[in-house]
Amino acid sequence: MLPDSTPAADARRALGRWLGGIEGPECLGAGSPQALLAHLQTEGVVGLAASKSSELPEDLRGPLRQAGRDAALTSMLLEAETRRVLSTLRGLGEPALLLKGSALAFWAYPQPQQRQCSDVDVLLPSRASAERLSHALAGQGYSRADTSGELVAYELMCSRQVTADWKVEIDVHWRLVNSALFGSRFTFEELMEASVAIPFLGPDARGLGPVHALLHAALHRASNLATGMGDGLKWLYDFVVLADRFTEADWRHTVQLAAERQIAGPSLSALRSAQHVFGIALPPWALTALEDAARREPLDAARLEDWRYMELQTARSLPGLPAKLTWLWQRLFPSHDYLIYLYGKQGSYAGLLWERLQRASRKWRR
């Protein structure tokens, strides 16, 4: 969610309006190529902007085209890793669904490099299946970093140094969303039943169907807003490409599922944010129906950015005191690997844990 008017929010909104096609590049104002590129990198939309580079003045076009080539190279490297994972899954006989950009880039976007990705996300039916894939990937040179605990993040993170300056991460999920608050809203079986083929990646590749993909994007955003992430333009633009393909039946199904699974509030919040930034057209009746359903939900979607509120909601969503206490323990004392991953630096367990406790304390007091 955006504050109404700060220079950063205005620049972001201008970028959104250009990318959304409602305004010409003049709305970006006069800035240096370096400043524009830095902004695009921060928002994860270099590839998307590069596809519109012909609209820009010459001094911006050249640097952006070069950045677009780099985005295409990264996209190809990720595609190669995705194919490798799919081939491994085929060997294991495990059904799987590609998630987020790992799927959308290859079926929803006009060109894969338009959807910037930093890793490959794959969903498996169970923890046991995820362990099997992780074990097979270990045999191919991937190392595994344990997450904070299975009640905090339903995923295994496997990474491999591909080139001297490029490391790829495969996030192996066994629930659709990492947060326990939303993790059980959909089953793997129902997601697989409504999934779409991704022929670009081969005959076995499948991703979430459009309606599930949109709801997942909304839940991903809702899980990340409180950590200061989640509203990046690259994620919000997923709503643009999905909404663009939606039929009235898709919208009806979205509203029905969102109301049924009690995620109308986060869904409405995400759609409104995308509408605010990119000016996309959304059916008013669908927004009204989501608004009505959101009023009946226990989660207050106006507080998705409130870290303390979201942590409490997550604790409340867990069944029974033992689960709540286990979650709290895992939240406070994650593995050493996970702390290194989280803060992007090496350090002793005690030192990183101290940093974590200080950060948590600051967030709690805020």
Binding site: A50, L73, M76, L77, Q111
Partner: protein
């Protein structure tokens, strides 16, 4: 290289079309290569399984260029791609 030579794209070479160009990545060598507009079109036609003479015939209908010049340019590009192992002669 003969006019009826067919080239194919090996599995370790990936390509992406950008606005007006194609970026090629050799996964084995870790090197990349960029093709301009006409080069991109040649790449696409090679990918469709056309022999070099068929590529030239198609391009002659699309661009106003002398046939001899076109054949020379297409052959030169094909040789460069072959030298860089971004394509291989089809069996």
């Amino acid at each position: 290289m003969q006019p009826d030579t067919r080239l194919e794209i090996p599995a370790h070479v990936m390509a992406r079309e950008l606005s007006g160009e194609t970026v090629l990545l050799d996964l084995v060598k870790g090197s990349y290569f960029s093709l301009n507009g006409v080069g991109s079109r040649v790449w696409t036609l090679i990918g469709q399984g056309m022999a070099l003479n068929e590529v030239c015939q198609t391009l002659l209908t699309e661009y106003e260029v002398p046939a001899a010049q076109l054949e020379q340019d297409v052959t030169a590009l094909a040789q460069t791609l072959l030298d860089k192992q971004l394509v291989q002669v089809a069996a």
